[in-house]
Each structure stands twice: as C-alpha cells, then as structure tokens.
C-alpha cells in the first residue's frame, strides 16, 4: 500500500514536471506551428543558470531569476532567428531550433563543464516532506517530516519517506498551471493569445501586434521550461545529458496528448509520469510472474531474452511503445482534434 502511494505521488510529481515542459511546447506549437526542438535545451539552461545564481545568492532568488533569464533568451531567439525563417515554412523553423539545441548543448559544456554539477536543493527541501510508517500489525501511520530512526529500526516496520523536493515540484507546477490557466482565460492578454491561435489576421487587423504576442508566448514557454529546469535540476541531476533524456519524452507527451491540445498534454504527462515511475519500481518479468501463478517454466523460457526482461528494464522504452500504440489506434492523440 505505501509502495503504491509513494510511487503514485512520485509519478504524479514527475508527470507535473513533464507538463510544465510540455505546456510551453504545446502553447508554442499551437500558436506558431513551430515545434521547438530546443525546448529541453532551455530546460537544461534553466537548471544551469539556476545553479549559478544559487551559488551566488541562494536557491530562492535563483528560482525566480533563472526562468526570467531563460525566458528573455527564448524571446530574443524568437526575435532574431525564428521570425526570420518564418517565411520559409515549418521545416526550416524546426531546423533552426534543432541547430539551436546543438549550440546550447555545446555552450553549456563550454561554460559549466562536461560533468554533472552539484546542484543541491536548499536546506528547507532536503528532508522528506512526510513519511509513511508501516507497522508490524499492518497499520499505516502518517508523519509530517522525517521519522525518528528508532521507530524505523523496529521489527517488521517499513518507513517510506516522500522527498520534500518532489512535493515542492508538485506545488510549483500546480501553482504555475493555475496562473497560466487564469492568464489565458481571465485576462486581456490571454484573450488576445487565444484569438491569435485561430485568427491571427483578424487579431492583427484589430490593431494588436501579433508578432510581439508570438514573441511573448515563446518567451513564456521557454521561461516555463527554465522554471522546470531549476526544479528538475535540483531534484534530479544537472548534467549536459539532461536535455536529451527529457527532450524525447516531452515530444512523446505532446504527440500522445494530441498535437496542440493543452488538456491532452496534461493527461499524457501524468500518464507517462506514472507509468514510468511504476515500471522502474517493479522488478517483475514475464518469467517471475508466470512462476508466481504456479506455471511450469522451462529452462528455454528462462533464458529467452524477451521473457526474462524485468519491467524495470523495459521502463525506458515504455513511453515510446505508448506512442506507437497511440499512433496505431488513435492517430490524433488522446484529446487531439486535428488529424495528420
């Protein structure tokens, strides 16, 4: 039971982090038709800038400064290059961001080195947010913060802590998403953005500066990625490889959710976050499950390279398998509306 709760919370927090990334990606895609290939690179940039600011003045200012810097850089990139290639069509736009991902990766290695940097969360977030204690008599107890070591050392007692960084990740993601939603639906600029999504010419002829709106959206999307980077970088690991690991997953999220659908991206982020977290935690293979159900397992089956794979070994490919299945059975994505 406590394994289920903790894994679920871990999965949801990871899923929310993914959504922090994929929401920006989806917003940019649905407004400009541009798939920002460098989106995960901005995530990495956020982590590294957050790390540097944290070294200088502390984690909390970094949490605010890094997304702003990354967002400004994103807006600058849109202004200088993306707007220029807009007339060539969507493929060159995608290629420009592809080239940018190379440049950011190399610049990060140039400035911060090729190995991981030690980006630790602040004192406040280091311990567990709460701990579930499974007593010997099969009862569960909930404690805020960490639990005295003596309790966990008892016979038949299992302590499952939930890290505070994860809880913080959930909190920030939910806050950001709430404010994003309010911004999009309740404010004037949000209405203009929504209108520019479907009728850019009309919005332009009403006197709004659509290119500037696009620049703002691009900046906001990359800023969100930067924010995700500060949180993700301090929770997981800040290294030059982090863009590649997260990048392909958020593309899967966007396709699975349905291109350009924010709610679809939300659903897909949570699904993929939870699936991946659970799969990593489960050490069952086809062979071991068959044995548990009392089936006869021959030696040939035990040596079979497919059957002996455990679920945790398969975990890295699950998002992509999910992608393939979705494409075969529901090509427009979970909540998508457009085909093709």
């Amino acid at each position: 039971m406590e394994f289920f709760i903790i894994s679920m919370l871990n999965g949801v927090s990871y899923g929310l982090l993914l959504f922090l990334l994929s929401s920006g990606l989806t917003l940019i895609f649905s407004m400009m038709g541009v798939l920002n290939f460098a989106h995960a690179s901005f995530y990495m940039l956020g982590a590294y800038i957050g790390y540097s600011v944290a070294q200088l003045v502390g984690f909390w200012p970094g949490l605010i400064v890094a997304p702003l810097v990354v967002g400004a850089l994103g807006a600058l990139f849109e202004r200088l290059t993306l707007r220029r290639v807009h007339k060539f069509g969507h493929v060159p736009e995608l290629l420009v961001t592809f080239g940018l991902s190379y440049i950011i990766l190399e610049l990060v290695q140039l400035i911060w080195g090729r190995t991981a940097v030690e980006f630790t969360p602040p004192e406040l977030l280091r311990g567990p947010a709460f701990t579930l204690v499974h007593h010997a008599n099969d009862s569960l107890e909930w404690f805020w913060g960490s639990v005295d070591g003596a309790v966990c050392a008892g016979q038949g007692v299992i302590c499952s802590p939930f890290p505070a960084t994860r809880a913080f990740m959930m909190l920030v993601a939910l806050l950001m998403l709430m404010s994003l939603w309010l911004l999009l639906t309740r404010t004037r600029i949000g209405l203009i953005i929504q209108a520019a999504l479907t009728h850019p010419e009309m919005v332009e002829s009403l006197g709004h500066n659509v290119p500037r709106v696009l620049m703002l959206v691009f900046g906001a999307g990359t800023g969100l990625a930067g924010l995700a980077g500060v949180i993700g970088g301090s929770t997981f690991v800040t290294e030059p490889n982090m863009a590649a690991t997260v990048g392909s997953v958020i593309f899967v999220v966007v396709v699975v959710g349905g291109m350009g659908s924010l709610s679809g991206a939300f659903l897909a982020s949570l699904l993929i976050g939870v699936i991946q977290t659970f799969a990593v935690g489960l050490d069952h293979s086809f062979v071991s499950v068959a044995q548990q159900f009392g089936m006869e397992v021959s030696d040939a089956m035990r040596e079979n390279s497919v059957l002996k794979l455990t679920l945790s070994q398969v975990a890295p490919i699950l998002p992509y398998l999910f992608l393939v299945l979705i494409l075969i059975f529901r090509p427009k994505g979970l909540l998508g509306t457009r085909e093709g």
Binding site: G99, Y102, E106, V255, L327, G340
Partner: protein, 430 residues
C-alpha cells in the same frame, strides 16, 4: 513495339560526362590520397554519401524531416555484421561482396515495419514520431544484448573464406573499391529514382499534398514507398559501414548519428540531387579533421547550420548553383571583391571567437596543464585580462566590419539579380 510518332532523342552528352567524371574520381581518389588515413576517410565518405543521399529521398524529395534515419543504417549494420559472422562460421554461404545487400534488405525490412507507423503522418508530427522511433530502437539496443552486443557491440572479421582473384578484403584499399562500386551504383539508382513516376509524385506530395489527393493518389502510400526505398539504401550504407569498421556498437542507432545525417544533408543542400554528396564528404571531414582541430567543433557546426538555415536554406549546393548562374551571365567579376571582404572579415571574427572558445575550454578542462594556450602559433594566457580583451576586441571589430560588408554585398547581390532577370526577359523577347 513501335511508337506512332517520331521521337528525337539526343545523346545526353552532359550526363555521360558527369557520370564518367564521377566514376573517374571514385577510381582515382585513392591513388591521389594514398595514405592510410585518407583511404579510410575516402571509404567513410562513400558510405556517408549513400547515407545522406538516402536521407535526402525523405528530406529533399519527400519533405519528410526524419530524426531517426540512423535506425535504418544502424540496423542494417547489425544485420550485416551478423551475416558476416554467420558466413565466417560457415553457416551461411554468402560472399563478402554481397554482405552490404544483406544490410540493405534489413534496412528495407525495418523501414516496412516502422514506416507503417511513421508515415501515417507528415510534417511536424512525422518528425516527432521518427524521433520517438529512434529513441525506442536505441533504448532496445541496450536491452537485448544478444543481438546488439550491449555496450561493447559486436565485431567480426571481413576476411572470410578463400581470396577470390586476389581479393580478400584484408587491405583497406580493396574495401575502398568495394565501397566505391556500391557508391557508384547506389548514387546512379537513387538518381534514376528521382526520374521515375514515383519520384515525381513524391515531389508533388512534398509541395502540395492536398492536390495530390485530389488527383487520386494516396499520399500516405507514396510516403510509405519512398520511406522503404530510403530505408533500403540506408541499410546498404550501414552494411558497408559494418564491413569497413568490422565493429558495430549501439551508437550507430543513436540520436547523434541521426542528427548528423540531417545536419549534413541540409548543409550540403537538400534541394539539389548532388547536395547530399557534398554533405556526406563534409560529414567525414568534420568528424575526422575538425574534431581533431578543436574540442568545440559541434558548437561551430551548430552555428554554421543555424546561419545556413537562416540565410541559405538551399545549402551549399544552392550557393554553388546561384554563383554559377551569376557567372553564366558574366557578372561574377563584380562580386569577387565583396566575397573577398566577406571571407576576410568572417575569418577575423572566427579568429577572435575561436580564441575565446579555446581559452574557456582550457579553463574548464585542462587548467592543470599550465596557463598558456597554443592557438594558431600564438600563445594566449586565459588567466590574463589582456588576452581576453584582445580576443574580444578582434571579434567585435570583425563583427562590425562583417556586418557593414554584408549589407553592401546584399545590396549588390540584389542589384545583380534584377539585372539578370532583365537580361532573361530581354533574351526571351528576341
């Protein structure tokens, strides 16, 4: 069958000359560059040319931006390597010369399998799905170590069986000639493909899929067929790679390899058939020579790519063709001064920027090896403000003058283009 009308077919002299020259270059290259390194580089170039051309069937001719082309070259490599090992064990009687074809068939098979899913979509979704596929295969390559050989990869020996007419494929030169033959045939076949009805309708699918649907073609099927053909040639390139290196590791299906094909095909020029040939040659030159020169070579490559997409989306091939057009109207004389100025200022920027990059890398990576960086015969001191100031000064000055010359040049270029347009109109009216 006789045709009811008379058809005059001129003997296409230009084409014969071009293809004979190509064959001559392939034959003569190892005689001119006869060092060991140059022979391996030439072999790699042949392989890269096939791979980039097969990629261009997707990118240039079909408008399909794939981020996972290395899946087909890589799986082709693996299958070819397994076939080679089976032949060495005597389980499978197949001559080494035909091993690349095994790779090709494997590439075709996987393109049929994966292409069914990927070609369901076009445009941006296609790009993302190919990326997902590439990740899927790469993640699998680390899971199934029986087939992929895990971290170490699988290796083999290409000298199998009796030497046939003195050809054992032991010396690299013999392998080069095998690769050259495959390169020539594959380039020819892929050029022929652009002239078939399928190749033509593929161009139409790229330019206007809606209209192609209206005249009764299934665009998805056209994309699927093109994807298979690209997969076949990619597999041949992979098979040749397996023979050339005699080892296949998981990185041949990795995302970096796929990105490389995309980058260099585009740099070479996706809009012309010969563009990817330039791209393939550049790919090997960059990977072997540029990476020796500086550790930051991917940074320079990314910057070049970015500027290429922004200012010359047709790649190097289109630059060549534009200048040929200017030359054919006798106006190249007017711009060569501007070219010289552009080149010199760009070099100045590169000099200053490169110095800064090298100094940063020195501080990052080998600060323990002393305070002096050797850079083009100069010695820079990364811990000294003077070197930094000098490098920044050179870069900024170069950038300023470059921008000035660029503005002048683009005005001049536009003027020449209008003159050429006028000249064409004048000739038409005569």
């Amino acid at each position: 069958m006789t045709k009811p009308y008379y058809e005059f077919k001129p003997y296409n002299v230009g084409r014969w000359i071009v293809w004979s020259l190509f064959a001559l270059v392939l034959l003569g290259a190892p005689l001119v560059f006869s060092g060991n390194l140059s022979i391996t580089m030439l072999s790699q170039m042949g392989i890269a040319i096939i791979a980039c051309l097969s990629y261009n069937i997707l990118l240039g001719q079909g408008g399909m931006l794939s981020f996972g082309h290395a899946v087909y070259t890589g799986l082709g490599s693996y299958m070819a390597m397994h076939a080679l090992n089976a032949a060495a064990d005597g389980q499978w009687p197949i001559p080494v010369s035909l091993i690349p074809l095994v790779g090709g068939v494997a590439g075709l098979f996987f393109a049929i399998l994966f292409g069914y899913v990927t070609t369901k979509k076009a445009g941006t979704p296609f790009a993302m799905i190919t990326l997902g596929m590439a990740e899927l295969v790469f993640a699998m390559s680390l899971m199934f170590s029986e087939f992929f050989g895990g971290e170490a990869g699988i290796s083999g020996n290409r000298v199998v069986g009796e030497a046939f007419m003195g050809i054992s494929y032991g010396p690299p030169r013999q392998v080069y000639y095998l690769i050259a033959v495959y390169t020539f045939v594959c380039v020819g076949l892929m050029f022929a493909f652009t002239r078939t009805p399928l190749g033509r309708i593929l161009n139409a699918v790229r330019d206007n899929p809606e209209r192609v649907e209206f005249i009764g073609y299934n665009t998805q099927k056209v994309r699927y067929l093109a994807f298979m053909i690209a997969g076949f040639f990619a597999g041949i390139a992979g098979g040749l790679g397996a023979l050339n290196f005699e080892i296949v590791t998981a990185e041949v299906v990795g995302a970096a390899r796929s990105g490389g094909y995309l980058l260099f095909t585009f740099l070479g020029g996706a809009t012309f058939f010969f563009g990817p040939i330039i791209g393939g040659i550049l790919m090997v030159l960059a990977a072997v020579l540029l990476s020796e020169l500086t550790k930051a070579w991917l940074l320079y490559l990314g910057l070049i790519f970015l500027f290429m997409v922004m200012y010359a989306p047709g790649g190097i091939a289109s630059l060549i063709m534009m200048n040929l057009r200017v030359a054919s109207f006798g106006k190249l004389r007017e711009v060569w001064v501007a070219y010289l100025a552009l080149g010199v200022t760009a070099l100045v920027v590169l000099l200053g920027g490169g110095a800064m990059v090298e100094m940063i890398y020195h501080l990052q990576l080998d600060a323990a090896m002393g305070d002096v960086v050797k850079y083009l015969g100069m010695s820079l001191h990364p811990k000294d403000a003077g070197s930094w100031f000098g490098a920044a000064f050179v870069t900024l000055t170069g950038l300023g003058i470059f921008e000035l010359t660029r503005r002048q040049f683009s005005a001049q270029w536009a003027e020449i283009q209008t003159e050429i347009e006028k000249e064409i109109k004048r000739r038409e009216t005569q």
